[in-house]
């Protein structure tokens, strides 16, 4: 019986393939966007876990030195004592606009988890160990690295993350200009009898286990939460399509449902048939969505991997694996979405009166009372959104605020549009404009879901666009300030550093040491830089707040500047004493913006730095001030004179280009999701207009009979779509700007630790308005065209039928 009812219900889709396609595409797209975000997050999590496992999942300990360098002799001492220890060198290598992490390992003693070394591959093993060495990198990075001169042969390995290079430790030491020092030693903690305990053997080294990789997961948590929120928003927009399509299908099948009931089909049987239908559609759309999601995620993942490396230094594989967690999640959300969208139809089917006269457009006759209810709900949500920041803080509160704001704005859209049209009716002159406005108002219930989807997509576009553009503008200004030196030099060791410094003194206008030490800032791990007293800093350094005599106090070693994220998270005020690991606390004299750095950082006078941290200070880098026209010549001279490490001399323009490239990649995912969401909303509009068009005849036939041609009616349909899109944009604009404010002032502060000034981009808004109207016109074009081509016989039939 249920099967017969199901067949009768499913036969509807055979007669309405376009509507079925709308439903499946809508649910498929929504699932795809959600799945792609889940796949990216799952891949990132797997990479963090893998990194943790590589460190032995707790059995391997990482030994590091406070100053960042461990002599090779220390490693030898561990080996001689019987410890299974393996040295590691890590550094950066820049190729074009890509920054690689170069990791040097000792293959014979490396932990078993180092899959990239492909144990058992003799040929690879020999090439890896013998001169000139071998660089292993991700397949997509091979070409880029091959263009660099002076590098050993490059080989692809799927096990290496994008933007990562694995090589023999000796090769890495040579490329990074390291002498007989390594960055860390990996030690198997399972001690054997007779071994000296590590705290006695190497007391000078710090020990941490693989579990500290949790810090990466913690740091990147906000980023993944951002992605998840965006994925969910995209899913919600997609769900509007599904809800609209299922709602319309219910109205079209109302008579069939009533007939089935009259013929003796029990209510439970009809409900079961509707649920089975929803599940079948969900599984079909879910499968399409998961496959599409995989494609989208594969396209976005390299960008996300670069973002995570750029922002947090987290290593994520650029290749996407098919993981059960995200495809199961994709199917689950498709099923849940379909059931949620069907729930109302199922409830209405269950309570459908057997004898009520058929009202094919009953849903369109939404009363003014319903609009009032919607307005009350919307205003309540907007009020909650206004209260949240006063009472709560944190990333979850930020997203709750966003949810209330967006849902509130979406729910208020139909009553707001109805009110605007109502006012318009009062001022309308002439019968056609009066009919047009009244008819548009009557169309609102049928179009409201699509318009809400469009509004959400437009608001998101405005909000995220404003956030990204504001960030870009701020970031570019910040780079100009922060990268004031014309040339940046990195030396191999301290001896070379001193030689380079002496050589540069007479050849540059100023040599600014970029020396630093790893230490604790107010009890948190961080790095302290030392600066000399120079106009470069006084004129350019991007201070957010500072005392009048900040640079004087820095120069005399009495003051300290901290970066914005430390300032916010530590709750510091100017004048507070800041503990800097060694020596007496210094007075906080200023705060500088430091975008893209997740760690605590501080700046003190150079002399204070060397006095406090002595041998722990890394003295390898310099910024050079000189005339722009001298940069090329000095670069060549420096490279000819000294055996500097790869990328040892970089000019300001290259660093800026690199930084901006990282920035663009950081928001490439956001931009892609933005465009996809807007496309989904445009599709929702198209689907709703197309379905409504087939049900519009009873409204249009009388006007046609009164003398309005089909072409005029079609033009009015186009005008209606354009007007509604424009009005929707008008409501999306303030919503989007509020969204931008929340992202810049609440979410970013919580997620990244920095607050950004909000800039306005009216030209972008106008372009978006034009796009929205264009999308609506394109969506209305097909229904309008079919209206023109509709034979008059069909109009006449309206009068022949009893309705």
């Amino acid at each position: 019986m249920t099967l017969t009812a199901l067949i009768a219900l499913l036969s509807h889709w055979r007669r309405k393939p376009g509507q079925l396609a709308t439903l499946i595409i809508g649910l498929g797209l929504a699932t795809a966007l959600w799945t792609s975000v889940q796949a990216i997050n799952a891949e990132a999590r797997a990479s963090y876990d893998e990194a943790s496992a590589t460190l032995g999942g707790g059995t391997v300990m990482v030994l590091t030195a406070a100053d960042g360098r461990i002599p090779v002799s220390t490693w030898s001492r561990l080996r001689r004592d019987g410890w299974a220890a393996s040295p590691v060198i890590e550094g950066e290598l820049i190729a074009g606009d890509e920054r690689f992490v170069l990791r040097g390992v000792e293959p014979l003693s490396a932990p078993a988890g180092e899959a990239a070394l492909a144990p058992g591959d003799q040929a690879l093993g020999l090439a890896f160990l013998t001169a000139p060495g071998l660089l292993l990198t991700a397949p997509e990075s091979v070409e880029q690295l091959s263009t660099l001169n002076g590098l050993p042969p490059v080989e692809a390995s799927a096990a290496v993350a994008r933007s990562e290079i694995i090589t023999d430790i000796a090769v890495a030491a040579r490329l990074l200009g390291r002498g007989d020092q390594v960055d860390a030693v990996l030690v198997d903690t399972r001690a054997r009898t007779g071994q000296t305990p590590l705290d006695q053997l190497v007391p000078e080294l710090e020990r941490r286990t693989g579990s500290s990789n949790g810090e990466v997961a913690q740091l990147t948590g906000s980023f993944h939460l951002n992605l998840t929120a965006f994925g969910f928003l995209s899913f919600a927009v997609g769900l509007f399509i599904v809800y609209a399509a299922i709602g319309l299908a219910f109205e079209q099948r109302r008579a069939t449902l009533r007939t089935l009931r009259a013929l003796g089909t029990p209510v439970w049987s009809i409900m079961a048939a509707l649920i089975i239908e929803a599940l079948a559609l969900a599984l079909l759309a879910g499968a399409i969505g998961v496959v599409l999601g995989y494609v989208v995620a594969s396209a976005l993942l390299p960008g996300v991997a670069a973002t995570l490396r750029g922002l947090y230094g987290a290593s994520v594989s650029g290749a996407l694996a098919v993981r059960p967690e995200w495809w199961v999640s994709g199917f689950a959300i498709a099923v849940l979405g379909a059931l949620a969208a069907t729930a109302l139809s199922i409830r209405r089917a269950a309570t459908l009166p057997l004898l009520a006269s058929a009202q094919p457009r009953a849903w369109a006759l939404a009363s003014a009372r319903r609009f009032v209810q919607q307005a009350v709900i919307a205003l309540t949500l907007l009020l909650i959104a206004a209260i949240i920041p006063q009472l709560f803080s944190g990333i979850i509160a930020g997203f709750a605020l966003l949810a209330c704001l967006l849902v509130g704005a979406a729910v208020i859209l139909p009553p707001a549009l109805a009110a605007v049209l109502h006012v318009g009716q009062r001022f309308a002159r002439g019968p056609i404009s009066e009919w047009f406005l009244a008819d548009t108002r009557q169309q609102l219930p049928g179009l409201s879901l699509a318009l809400m989807a469009l509004m959400l997509a437009l608001a998101t576009n405005i909000g995220v666009g404003t956030m990204v553009s504001s960030f870009r503008l701020t970031f570019e200004g910040w780079l100009d300030q922060r990268l004031a030196a014309e040339l940046y030099v990195t030396t191999s060791d301290e001896a070379q550093s001193e030689q380079v410094r002496q050589w540069l003194e007479p050849r540059a206008d100023a040599v600014l040491p970029i020396w630093n030490a790893d230490t604790e800032i107010a009890g948190r791990p961080g790095e302290v830089y030392g600066v000399i007293d120079h106009a470069t800093y006084r004129d350019n350094w991007p201070l957010l707040t500072a005392t009048d005599d900040a640079w004087d106090l820095i120069a005399t070693g009495q003051g300290v500047l901290v970066n914005e994220q430390s300032w916010r998270s530590l709750g510091l005020n100017l004048g507070d004493a800041v503990e800097l690991g060694a020596g007496a606390p210094l007075i906080l004299v200023g705060v500088y913006s430091d975008y893209g750095n997740p760690n605590a950082q501080a700046i003190i006078g150079l002399d204070a730095l060397t006095t406090r941290y002595g041998a722990d200070v890394s003295r390898l880098r310099y910024g050079l001030r000189l005339a722009a026209e001298d940069v090329a010549a000095l670069t060549q001279a420096l490279q000819a004179e000294f055996d500097l490490p790869a990328n040892g001399v970089i000019d300001q323009a290259s660093i800026k280009a690199f930084s901006l490239a990282v920035f663009e990649r950081t928001f490439a995912v956001t931009a892609a999701l933005n465009v996809l969401t807007l496309s989904v909303a445009a599709f929702a509009m198209f689907a709703s207009l197309l379905t409504l068009a087939s049900m519009r005849l009873p409204q249009l036939a009388p006007v046609w009979a009164l003398g309005l041609s089909r072409a005029s009616l079609a033009k009015l349909e186009l005008l209606r779509a354009g007007v509604l899109a424009m009005l929707t944009w008008l409501i999306a604009l303030p919503t989007g700007l509020m969204l931008a404010w929340v992202l810049l002032s609440v979410v970013n502060v919580e997620a990244f630790g920095w607050r950004l000034p909000m800039h306005l981009f009216p030209l972008d808004w106008l372009i978006l308005a034009a796009l929205a109207v264009l999308a609506a016109l394109i969506a209305a074009l097909l229904p309008a065209r079919s209206l023109i081509k509709r034979p008059p016989r069909e109009f006449l039939q309206i009068f022949a039928q009893e309705r």
């Binding site: 019986m1 017969t4 009812a5 067949i7 009768a8 036969s11 509807h12 055979r14 007669r15 309405k16 099948r253 008579a255 069939t256 009533r258 007939t259 089935l260 009931r261 009259a262 013929l263 003796g264 089909t265 029990p266 209510v267 057997l354 004898l355 058929a358 009893e802």
Partner: protein
Amino acid sequence: MLLTVDRLEKSFGEGAARQAVLHGVSLSLEAGESLAITGESGSGKSTLLHLIGLLDRPDAGEIRLKGELISALDEAGRAARRRDTIGLVFQQFNLVPSLTVAGNLALQARLAKTHDPAWIATLAERLGLTDYLARYPEQLSGGQQQRVAVGRALATRPALLLADEPTGNLDENTTQDVLALMLELCRDSGTALVMATHSQAAAKQLTRHEHLTGGKLS
């Protein structure tokens, strides 16, 4: 006795707007008998058929079918009797637009699990629908659609066929055509018929005729 209706009462509306439609209507029907109920518009013909067809509940009174008190059945029981024992033909045809003629003809029989392809083929042939089995309702004329509705209702070989103004939307010739077929098929399958109609001419073709006025049969 196949059908017994005893002192049926039915009102619509609330409070002062409450309007009594049926005032203690009683009737009975033997198997294979056909009864025409005539009356003015709004006299309660359709309401009476809805109550007998278990599409609505009476305020008072009893309806027995084959001796069973069907007016007291719960929702599931009412659906089961509609499906298995009663056939319904409506003025508006009420076909499923997305099913073909063949699908519509077999629909109720499939629901009742009494699907007999040979019988349905016979019905299709006698109703002149054999050439239209693959068509959809919208591709048929009004008379053809009503013949599909009659075939669907008789596909389960119901004990009772209820027809509410079955020819109300049809022209004179088609009315005669559909009516003759319906009566012939009912007679051949031993199905009792209760038909509401405002046409005296149509009513005269049935074995019995009752007139409904002021909520009572006369």
